[in-house]
């Protein structure tokens, strides 16, 4: 998985595969983005090719972190397998997901 962080806008872009081997970069990304001020955090998933259940679980941990700091976490642009995983696991009901 590759992560690009825009601290000024609170936007994150993830690409590649987000799986059970990505604990450390994800934790670092969440720590960094929620340390910066702002209201909403947007994770752009439009270049993410693949996600497994561990990746979904980590997104939920990020959502919990957002709640702690009274911020909104928005998932933007899931496509392909990622979008399908969101549908299968009813993720659209757990997050604000923007097409």
């Amino acid at each position: 998985m590759q992560i690009q962080i825009d601290r000024t806008s609170g936007q994150i872009a993830m690409s590649g595969e987000f799986t059970f081997t990505d604990h450390i970069p994800f934790k670092q990304m969440v720590t960094e983005i929620f340390a910066a001020p702002g209201k909403a955090v947007v994770i752009d998933l439009s270049r993410l090719d693949f996600i497994d259940s561990a990746g979904l679980g980590m997104l939920l941990l990020a959502r919990d972190e957002a709640k702690k700091t009274h911020r909104e976490l928005i998932l933007r642009g899931p496509i392909g397998q990622v979008k399908r995983m969101f549908t299968v696991t009813k993720f659209n009901t757990l997050f604000k997901v923007e097409e």
């Binding site: 934790k27 259940s53 979904l56 679980g57 941990l61 299968v88």
Partner: protein, 212 residues
């Protein structure tokens, strides 16, 4: 390129070895007409289940260490190798990749590395889990333990089998995830994407069946 091809062994089985370095070398080692690919460090380790087998029908087999299964996108490369052998619709490719990834993750994390799923239930737990994972991957008997993927197909079905070297688990202990829980969705994903899921050998083997 550290890919070697042995002479034809037994009946119609072509075996290659993989050097464990990258997905590119794995893709090369899985290229047709190979029927079975074994990570080089496991060759000659029958106790690891890496022994050559006489295969019948259409199939592809991959035997790797836990360390390599963790470090590389094994399932993606394996599914691409399948695609070169049989036509897969985009729908079937997504279903096979997604379900096999869940089975592999279970085999690696819970089967061979024995990581407690609850450990990854919080952000700080991710760091703790990673430290344990790295320590166990470094242990020769754990990091070097076998993970095996097999695919077999007919005109109507594709079957994927994932095996680990762990002690298995009690299937009755598996509980579905809480709706917004951070873990426990693997079984649900296996069931949704596969046409049939069978747990065998006390939980060390999962067989996934897909209609083509």
């Amino acid at each position: 390129m550290c890919v070697s091809f042995d002479e034809r062994v037994e009946v119609d089985v072509l075996v290659s070895s993989w050097n464990g370095v990258s997905e590119e070398t794995l893709a090369a080692a899985l290229a047709q007409p190979v029927r079975q690919c074994i990570e080089a460090v496991l060759i000659g380790s029958p106790s690891n289940g890496a022994e050559r087998e006489q295969l019948s029908g259409d199939g592809l087999s991959l035997v790797v260490t836990t360390r390599s299964a963790y470090r590389h996108s094994i399932v993606r490369t394996f599914v691409e190798a399948l695609r070169s052998r049989l036509p897969l619709t985009e729908d079937l490719k997504i279903r096979i990749h997604s379900a096999a990834q869940e089975a592999l993750m279970n085999a690696v994390l819970h089967g061979n590395l024995r990581i407690d799923g609850a450990l990854r239930g919080g952000l700080d737990g991710l760091i703790a889990a990673q430290a344990i994972i790295e320590a166990r991957l470094d242990a020769p008997d754990i990091g070097g333990a076998m993970i095996r993927l097999d695919a077999a197909w007919t005109a109507s079905d594709v079957e994927i089998t994932v095996r680990d070297s762990g002690d298995g688990y009690d299937c009755s202990d598996v509980r579905p995830a809480a709706e917004d829980g951070a873990s426990g969705r693997g079984l649900e994903i296996l069931q949704v994407f596969s046409d049939r899921v069978t747990v065998l050998n006390g939980g060390t083997t999962v067989r996934l069946e897909f209609r083509r």
